[in-house]
Symmetry: none
Subunit: 323 residues, 2 copies
DNA sequence: TCCCTTGCGGACAGATCTTGTCCGCAAGGC
DNA sequence: GCCTTGCGGACAAGATCTGTCCGCAAGGGA
């Protein structure tokens, strides 16, 4: 890559992420850090406001609000567009299949000729299989929530809770998160004076209250880890605590990708696992997976849970042992 | 003015007016016409579509940019682009997080002004949480496979099977499919004279054999249903057949999102379910879910499966009933 | 307080690239 | 036919760029 191309690429890198370290940029661009510094200098001399901060958490960032030259997509970005739209067609957001495909077709038209075959190949030969049973969220709801997050506007919506009927909420939206095809809104609820996680598919009648709020600091490193921690430690109605005769690492590995559950080691060869869920049935899968690992003891379980899982166990035993 | 700065200036000049002659550009930039030609060439090599026309009314013009509204996406399509790229950042394809975000930032620039806030809102306030444990596939591999699918080119690659080590395959690729964050290649394997499904994350060293083939007709309605049917009906080592005292619809609903399993109604209130998997442990979750629904009878099970699930059942019963 | 990490910039040598000036060619309009 | 325009090869002088040194300043953590 020659120098002007590298400058354009540097600009696009700086634009795509808040902060980059010189080392990262040098790796991306395939040059030394010294050259990165020189390139940053060049951008500055071209009136692009690139700030650099020193220290351990230092790095470069492009302050927003400047008009950049029309940057072209590179190969990986074109592939990302195609894969993203193919994937978006697969589920999670209602009506996205058609929109994604038509957007892809239009994007293909404005792509540089070199990338067009790539895009066409992916869009014609890749297909997402929609997962049945994933709750669909409306793109309009997501759009409004996203706008309110960005503008720090109070947002109001009806929320169909797990048990109770729909209630009207007025919250300070913080971030939208997607995990395993589901969309979540992380927001601060002033009425309850606490952070809450809402499932976007249960949100309806969303509207901005047209009232700005000052963003609060999240009691976690970032929104993603807050969500994951909340899931892991959430206390629902029914819960089980088990002591398992297996190393904590083994048990944790069983639940890779499944977020609900806390595993704490007791000693080298045993650990304590805690689950909670709304219904005993939702606990069954995890408990069964534990039971498959080895012997375990129930430290605690709500009566309904114990009865339910015990009943399932009896049914399994009867069906398979007397076969 | 140095070369990179002049290139950016040239880009902005080309954006600002419909048509420029080489002479004008040379004057504006303070260089000779020969250098203008070279700069135009450089822009072209950077994928900027600059056209040049000869003759009296000749000149240079930039076909895309802010001149003509290049991307006439409607609201839903814009949201689809944003959501797709945010989602693509979340997993499945390695290195896509950065590419997706930078692509999104660049697309934002070429959007009509009306849509730009929408896109900016979604890209800044939505975030995908990567799922641990999802195998990563390389965008390059996907790109080659997609191209071979489209061009009907034989493709060769190393495949790490479930048990055996890597083997070199030469297949006729048919379609790429993504399901639950995993990518699959549906292809016809002439050596085995049958259709095969390959997991793309197990494919490496992929290369087109540069040899065209005539596409065969798939023994299914479409690729997606072929894949699902294959998963559902795949005969792995261990299998169970159950007759459940519950309507087929209820049982099917239990497995929403889980594809491995055939449900066939027997009558109004009962149905037959068949599962198969590589290990008895992989059958456990599904069988436990069935057991949670109601009474059932085991019609068939491999001995290991029966012993395994019976054992788990006994363990569950013992742990929860004697609590 | 010390130490590490990060950005910043000078100096220098060698390789690379750029530029201007030739030249001829092709294509379109008068 | 002639002019204008874009296109591109060749070449030499000169500028520029890069990598590798070096030391300095500033911020954050132990």
């Amino acid at each position: 890559m020659d120098m002007p191309g590298r400058l354009l690429r540097l600009l696009s890198l700086l634009q795509s992420r808040r902060e980059w370290s010189g080392r990262e940029l040098a790796d991306r661009l395939g040059v030394t850090e010294r050259t990165v510094r020189r390139d940053v200098d060049r951008l500055r001399s071209l009136d692009y406001p690139v700030t650099g901060t020193t220290g351990t958490a230092g790095g470069y960032r492009l302050v927003s609000g400047t008009n950049l030259p029309p940057l072209q997509l590179d190969d990986d970005e074109a592939i990302a567009v195609a894969l993203g739209l193919v994937g978006a067609a697969g589920g999670g957001v209602s009506g996205m299949a058609d929109s994604s495909m038509s957007a892809l077709a239009k994007l293909e038209q404005v792509m540089p000729a070199r990338l067009r075959p790539q895009l066409a190949a992916v869009s014609s030969s890749a297909e997402a299989i929609p997962r049945p049973g994933v709750p669909q969220v409306s793109p309009g709801v997501l759009a409004v929530l996203a706008r309110c997050c960005r503008n720090h506007e109070i947002v109001a919506f009806d929320y169909r809770g797990r048990a109770r009927g729909a209630t009207r909420r007025r919250v300070e939206p913080h971030q939208l998160l997607t995990l395993a095809w589901r969309w979540y809104l992380l927001a601060f609820d002033p009425g309850r004076d606490d952070w809450r996680i809402f499932r976007v598919d249960r949100i309806s009648d969303v509207a901005s209250a047209l009232h700005r709020f000052t963003p609060r600091t999240l009691p976690a490193a970032d929104a993603a880890s807050y969500l994951v921690e909340s899931f892991v430690s959430a206390q629902y109605r029914h819960s089980v605590h088990l002591t398992v005769q297996a190393p904590a690492a083994t048990v944790s590995a069983t639940f890779e990708g499944v977020v609900r559950g806390i595993v704490e080691p007791v000693d080298e060869s045993s650990c304590v696992v805690r689950f909670s869920a709304d219904t005993p049935a939702m606990l069954l899968t995890q408990v069964a997976a534990i039971a498959a690992l080895g012997p375990f003891v129930v430290d605690h379980a709500t009566p309904e849970t114990a009865a339910f899982i015990g009943g399932v166990g009896a049914r399994l035993t009867q069906a398979f042992v007397t076969q």
